[in-house]
């Protein structure tokens, strides 16, 4: 062992600096740059009439319900009495909120996976079952999932659901932005296709933000000045514009920090701790052993002298 005191201090100092500097860098610079080619969706809440046809189309496209489910079943508006969440059988739900102005139309909001630019679910997943595709949709690989459901805890929008009713092959269930459909030429997500009002637009995220701004500019006073999802948790690929403040429509008020960045501080320290901590202990061990050896030598010298 040739580590001396100076060498040990050097290692300790380097580790310390790295531990402090490393995570702060991770927060400042996002891991993934937002791509101009990313796809996305824009829901214009002011156009939504709450017809729930998107719910039907979604279930049909994802084979979540019986194959011949009648579309008339979705004309039942009594479901709006309660606030609903996405579940294993419904990747999207429409909720109804009071009108923006008294006597006006109620405000209907479609809810589904937001397809975050930096998905917290993917970051929380131990086995990388979630993946942000280069096209933008966040998709899930059932075959590697271990069923820990950390993703459900991690999601800031409480979207992923678990098929608890399936005892043998339970899986996480959430919107895929109809990844299979949009991968085909000319394909668009089922909800956007059926929407009678054209309230759901599908296209490149960059274009959708421009579209949202144009809509706001063309119809002043129709929308609140906020594109939900443009900056929330580092940006999402599903965007919303609304005639009513988002906080009153069940949208969580979130900062602009991507959720993976919050855990990155801790997670990036793990390898450092794994290197620095043994090094520190080994250094301490080497130091004390040397001291002991030196002590032994001194004793021996003293005893020789004696």
């Amino acid at each position: 062992m040739n580590t001396n005191r100076r060498g040990f201090l050097k290692i300790a100092a380097t580790a310390g600096v790295a531990a402090v500097a490393g995570p702060s860098d991770a927060r400042a610079a996002p891991v993934r740059r937002i791509s101009d080619d990313w796809l996305g969706m824009l829901t214009d809440i002011s156009l939504c009439i709450g017809c729930r046809k998107c719910e039907w189309a979604c279930r049909k496209a994802n084979e979540l319900g019986p194959p011949d489910e009648p579309i008339q079943d979705y004309e039942d508006m009594s479901v709006f009495k309660h606030h609903r969440r996405t579940d294993a059988k419904n990747y999207t739900v429409v909720n109804r909120y009071p009108p923006a102005t008294p006597g006006g139309n109620p405000v209907d909001v479609k809810k589904q996976c937001m397809h975050c630019n930096e998905p917290a679910c993917a970051s929380a997943c131990l086995v990388a079952a979630f993946r942000k595709t280069p096209e933008a949709p966040v998709i899930y690989n059932e075959s590697v999932c271990i069923g820990c459901r950390y993703c459900m805890v991690a999601c800031p929008f409480t979207i992923p659901a678990y098929s608890y009713d399936d005892p043998f092959t339970p899986a996480i269930k959430k919107c895929t932005m109809c990844f299979d459909r949009i991968s085909k030429e000319g394909g668009i997500p089922a909800c956007a296709e059926i929407c009678p009002e054209g309230a759901i637009s599908f296209g490149k995220r960059k274009d959708l933000i421009a579209l949202a701004r144009d809509k706001m500019r063309d119809k002043p006073g129709r929308y609140v000045d906020h594109i939900y999802g443009e900056h929330e948790v580092g940006g999402t690929c599903w965007l919303y514009i609304s005639p009513k403040p988002f906080a009153e429509l069940g949208f969580p008020e979130l900062d602009t920090i991507p959720r993976p960045a919050l855990t990155k501080t801790f997670l990036s320290a793990v390898p450092l701790v794994l290197i620095a901590w043994p090094a520190l202990l080994m250094g301490a061990h080497a130091f004390t052993r040397r001291q002991e050896e030196l002590g032994k030598d001194d004793k021996a010298k003293h005893s020789e002298k004696d």
Binding site: E75, I188, E193, E197, L211
Partner: protein, 402 residues
Amino acid sequence: MPRLFIAMLTILLGAAVAESARGQDKKMPLAMEELPCTFCHLCENPTPRYLCLRRCPRTSAASIDRKMSLKRGPDLVYLDELENLYLPVPFDHKGHAEMAKMTEGCAVCHHYTPEGAAHPACISCHEVSPKQRDMRKPSLKAAYHRQCMSCHREWSHETACGVCHPPKAGGAKSGVASRRPTKDDIVGKMHPPIPEPHTEIYEPRSKPVPGEKIIFRHKEHIHRFGLKCVDCHREDSCSRCHEKGKEHKQQTRTLAEHHKPCSTCHNVDDKNACDRCHWKEGESKPKPFDHASTGWPLSKQHVELGCRACHKRVPFHKLARKCDACHGDWKPDTFDHAVTGQVLDENHEEADCANCHANRKFDAPPKCDECHDEDDGIAFPAKRPGPEVIPSHRKNDKSTGG
């Protein structure tokens, strides 16, 4: 050196020709020169990079109202793109055009109409495919629904498909009309029944004469004259009933406009006829219409008939004072006397009409003295030439003749 010179000259010449050709292609449309920049551009200084174009150049949209009159537009339009799924949606174009008059005019819906052209069909701009090349332009489906739902949702809070799209028969749900609506229905779609006023007495807002009142017998017009709602309520706006909460501005109308709902049938210019509707308080009310005033008092058979049985078209016209004015195909050989309520027995069947109806005056009581002696006490109606039945025209309330 000369070779290089020739080559350069050729390139320069080529470039000049190409430039002039391009210039010809990019000829500006004449109309463009007169438009202010802000007609298309939102910002003051557009750049090639940032054109800040308006979403839809609503060229001459405002001029539609001047070009198009309500009369030239269709009354009822069937939207039948989805005929395989639903019955066609009857769209009351006229009614909506009237309502539009109160707001922004035709341009509310016909938002893009090029100069000198009729309104282009929605489908000529709005694509059928839900995947739009231009995200700013809604698909055909969205364009239609946005036009309708933006108002209808406000009024009815109904979003179910069946409200506008009557399902095809077989798949029809109860309570939804599954027949194709006709032009005669008040709004294209079957209108729910409206309680009819029996007699309406109006007090004119701007009273020309103190204490003057106007009588209008609504029920008589519907049931006796057989008029349909649309015969009089031609110019009526749906919003008169459907937007009750709103204050409607009473427009100043000329006398002719004021009388328009009545003038289709009534001669409102006849100064002697005013007292048919107008009367002063304290005086006796104008009496209901009496057919005798036309010089043709209605006999027993005819009085029960509606006006429409003889006067087929509105406004009602004078008919010739002859039976065959209505009973056009009447022939003595084929005439079934039972339609009058009087069946002829064997003895009378073969008789000539004139034997009983002297001089063929059929509205006068028949005479029996041609064959029978008066002394025998045989006279109509004490003695009848056969059994009495219910006249066929009273059974189904239809015309006896033609």
